[in-house]
């Protein structure tokens, strides 16, 4: 990454109009949404399945959508300068804006199946972006890990959604919400809850699925700022908030979310203390934030839910700011190892200022938005319905650790002695620092006048999923009370932890070494297991021998079709058929003689031609039984088969004339062939014994000429009535031809 020779990407600048325009449009909706209006749009999508592309914008959707567009705008602008390879810029911005739209769709969807589609879209685009530097092995691996973990969670979520749909008979979120009481007493409630939790926990990196998020940091830094801190990982949080009125409030909901969220917050903040790569530190603090959000969504009191929504905003602002700052440091110095940088304040004053405001907000100093967030957090934790003690302790410890991490983040890179880095550090272009500065200043403004943001954005968001009776005022000073004391305790404890950071890191390292199980290892172990099974299965089933393949295919047809057929025993009635004519007997005789010749001959050409005789004989049988079209096709296919087979087989060495006619392999093939022949014959006889359903035949006969202008019904069916089937068939033919061509060419190269 060399900053000097890179010109900013025009695509990035121009396309930043997309999120900016959307942001403006969404701001326009704020006043009406604040008074409780819900904007709705509905488009039928798959009406027969009840899937509609219905959108609803209420306070909750609007809060998320504004965050998405705001961060999206600055990230786009930033990425225009950040991207090292301008050649890939087009692809990058397509992914970026594709993600933005998918994410907006996710938070606005009013139909759970539509929501699921957007959910999966964000997963897929996240995969593409984590693996954006696809020439790096680790990038590909981490991308795949994120895809598999979040994708598997997505499938679980789909199960949950389908069950919800089957309980309520609708996929419309607003209609499902009306039946919340029914759902909570349904016997399937537990399953639905588990599936939704798996979906939300994988997406939002909760324990034990948290490991993919730090690895996702191989994505370009603007992407980490956008997807993996401010938006995509919050999709799980959004889902929990959205489903809160439907599934929430039960002991299972509250207990699981408070415990899992609390543990995740603690684990995330402890691991953040230990990391040394700036981006990984931020990733672990994101895990902490997601844990806190999950924990508060477990509550059902207004303070708890207000805490979740407030902290959501607080975190989005300071975290995307810090990510962009880290990106700037990486871009301007060439490293993001915290031990390799120092004293950047002198060379990058604007960036340092932005970083400082964000870090102070993160630490929760008064006059910063983070302080407001922390106050309401403690108020929420103290009023949790389950485990308030645990929630308060977890929040206190996690916040104290955050304060310490904020100190590490700001002191080490910007203060202290200057260190030599690969690139000589200098201030980033304005497009890069604009976003961090803007978001940092918002953190200060909201910190001083929190009431404003509380009234316009946070209260409507909470009201959207919680009928809050009490009004929570976001205020800078509530008087001396428990939350204020806890805040003070947090800051002092945080300062202490900061001073003790060296021994603390060593202790964490030591403790981690004592834990034998890593969740990530379970993942890799499982993946290796699948590969092993696949290898074994390939070795057995696909060893390269055509004889083996055909045996397996024909054998499975015989077993799969034959066993049910024998089981459902249908007595075959041979008396129904008239005696065949002398000509038919003669043809039968020829076919039998030809079959014997195929099996017994030692000459390949004779075998191929005899096989052709068998096919031609069957074509003649079709002809004398009144199926000229089938006969014609059979005869032609047979002719071509003889040509193609002889092109291949005549190149093989001659057969050894001394070898016995019946080897073990041949006997086995014979048994399979006879069994298959017998099965097909019996099936045809059995089918003919039942009366055919004539309505289709009658329809074709009646309409063939009138509607389709053709007298040859077979052809009319192929090219008109059933042309979609034919299209599928010729696609298969053409693709199979291409595949064979590839195989032949490959052999030629080798």
């Amino acid at each position: 990454m060399v900053a000097d020779n890179a010109k900013p990407s025009i695509i990035g600048w121009v396309s930043s109009i997309i999120p900016l325009g959307l942001f403006g449009a969404l701001l326009y909706l704020v006043p009406q949404v604040t008074v409780g209006h819900v904007f709705r749009i509905q488009l039928d999508w798959i009406p027969s399945l009840g899937v509609a592309l219905s959108m609803a914008i209420d306070g909750l959707s609007l809060l998320f959508a504004l965050i998405i567009c705001c961060v999206g705008f600055f990230v786009t602008l930033y990425a225009a300068d950040y991207l090292p390879k301008k050649a890939a810029a087009g692809k990058f911005f397509v992914y970026l804006h594709g993600f933005l739209l998918a994410m907006l769709g996710l938070v606005m969807a009013d139909n759970i199946l539509a929501l699921f589609v957007f959910w999966e879209l964000t997963t897929i685009i996240s995969y593409l972006l984590i693996g954006f530097e696809c020439e790096l092995e680790t990038a590909r691996q981490n991308a795949r890990q994120a895809l598999l973990v979040t994708g598997a969670g997505g499938l679980a979520l789909l199960i949950g959604f389908l069950l919800l749909g089957s309980i309520t008979n609708t996929y419309d979120l607003s209609r499902i919400t009306l039946q919340a009481g029914v759902i909570k007493t349904d016997p399937l409630y537990g399953v639905v809850l588990t599936m939704v939790f798996i979906g939300a926990f994988t997406k939002s990196a909760q324990m034990p699925f948290h490991f993919w998020l730090p690895n996702a940091m191989t994505a370009p830094t603007p992407i980490s700022a956008f997807l993996h801190s401010a938006t995509m990982v919050k999709a799980g949080i959004y889902l929990l908030a959205r489903l809160h009125p439907i599934l929430g409030g039960t002991p299972a909901w509250m207990g699981t979310l408070v415990i899992i969220g609390g543990i995740t917050a603690l684990v995330g903040s402890v691991l953040a203390m230990r990391a040394s790569d700036l981006k990984r530190i931020l990733a672990f603090t994101t895990i902490m934030a997601l844990g806190i959000l999950t924990m508060f969504l477990g509550g059902k009191t207004t303070p708890a839910l207000t805490a979740a929504m407030t902290f959501l905003m607080v975190h989005s602002l300071y975290k995307s700011c810090l990510f962009l700052v880290v990106g700037i440091i990486d871009h301007q110095t060439g490293t993001r190892q915290i031990d390799h940088i120092g004293g950047l304040l002198k060379s990058m004053p604007v960036t340092a200022l932005a970083a400082a405001t964000a870090a102070l907000s993160m630490a929760g100093f008064p006059l910063f938005f983070g302080f407001i967030g922390k106050e309401i957090m403690y108020k929420g934790a103290l009023t949790e319905d389950v485990f308030p003690g645990f929630a308060t302790t977890a929040a206190l410890l996690a916040n104290a650790l955050m304060t310490a991490v904020a100190g590490i983040l700001i002191v080490k890179p910007f203060l202290g002695p200057e260190k030599k880095t690969r690139l000589i550090p200098r201030e980033a272009p304005w497009t890069m620092w604009l976003g961090p500065v803007f978001m940092g200043s918002l953190g200060v403004i909201f910190g001083i006048v929190p009431d404003w943001i509380g009234h316009w954005l946070i209260r409507p968001a909470v009201r959207a999923f919680h009928p809050s009776m009490e009004d929570i005022q976001l205020k800078l000073f509530h008087g001396i009370n428990e939350p204020l004391l806890l805040s003070a305790a947090t800051l002092s404890l945080g300062a202490l932890l900061y001073l003790l950071r060296q021994p603390l890191r060593q202790t964490i390292d030591y403790v981690l070494k004592q834990i034998p199980i890593r969740f990530e290892h379970l993942y890799t172990g499982g993946l290796e297991g699948i590969v092993k099974i696949a290898r074994m299965q390939t070795r057995i089933l696909q060893n390269g021998s055509l004889h083996r393949y055909l045996s397996i295919i024909i054998g499975s047809v015989i077993l799969g079709v034959g066993l049910p057929f024998v089981y459902s025993y249908i007595p075959l009635d041979f008396g129904r058929y008239p005696h065949p004519s002398l000509f038919a007997w003669l043809l039968g005789g020829i076919i039998v003689v030809a079959v014997v010749a195929v099996v017994a001959t030692k000459m390949r050409l004779l075998a191929i031609c005899s096989l052709g005789v068998v096919g031609a004989g069957i074509a003649m049988l079709f002809l004398i039984n009144g199926a000229p079209d089938v006969a014609l096709t059979q005869l032609l296919v047979e002719t071509l088969t003889v040509i193609i087979v002889s092109l291949v087989l005549l190149r093989l060495p001659r057969l050894d004339p001394r070898k016995a006619v019946f080897s073990a392999g041949k006997t086995w093939s014979g048994i399979l062939a006879i069994a298959m022949g017998a099965l097909i014959t019996a099936l045809i006889l059995a089918v003919n014994q039942t009366d055919l359903e004539r309505s289709l035949t009658d329809f074709f006969e009646a309409n063939s000429y009138i509607a389709a202008h053709g007298r040859n019904i077979v052809n009319v069916i192929l090219v008109d009535f059933r042309s979609l089937d034919t299209l599928g068939e010729i696609t298969v033919v053409a693709l199979a031809g291409l595949a064979c061509y590839g195989l032949i060419q490959k052999r030629k190269v080798e």
Binding site: P628, D629, L632, T633, L636, V637, T639, L640, I643, I644, L647, V648, R651, A707, A708, H709, G710, R711, N712, V714, N715, V716, L718, V719, D720, S723, L724, T726, L727, I730, T731, V733, A734, A736, G737, L738, C740, Y741, I744, Q745, R747, K748
Partner: protein, 138 residues
């Protein structure tokens, strides 16, 4: 490739006839045995014979277009014939007909299924040619 004078001479006469017959089969298919698939098989046999007698290089030169491309164009034509109907607001693959001299004995009906069948013809023929030429060259 076989260097047989009899085969070469016979091929020269027969290939033209076989290809003409294949077009005949293609066009009559809607009313009598035949159709795109069978016609393509006939043409494929003709080209196979040509390739055996004169060698695959001569065949490639004669057909000019790469056989894989013929197959893909056939697929495209078949798909396009189905896409005409949606343009007029009818379901995908509805047969649309244009009838010349309607009601008279010499009435001629041309419809999208005809183009579909031509698409089938080229898709199958292209595939057969791809295989035969590749095998013959190998």
């Amino acid at each position: 490739m076989m260097s047989s004078l009899i085969l070469k001479t016979a091929t020269r006469l027969l290939v033209g006839l076989i290809l003409t017959f294949s077009i005949y089969l293609l066009l009559r298919g809607h009313n009598a045995p035949g159709g795109g698939f069978a016609a393509a098989l006939v043409a494929g046999t003709g080209f196979a014979m040509f390739a055996i007698a004169e060698g695959p290089a001569v065949v490639r030169q004669a057909i000019r277009i790469a056989p894989q491309r013929i197959a893909m164009c056939g697929l495209g034509l078949a798909l396009a014939s189905g896409l005409v109907a949606p343009l007029t607001g009818q379901p995908f693959f509805t047969g649309l007909w244009w009838i010349w001299k309607k009601g008279q004995p010499s009435e001629v009906a041309i419809g999208t299924p005809l183009f579909f069948d031509v698409g089938v013809y080229f898709a199958v023929l292209g595939t057969i040619l791809t295989l035969i030429l590749a095998l013959e060259e190998n």
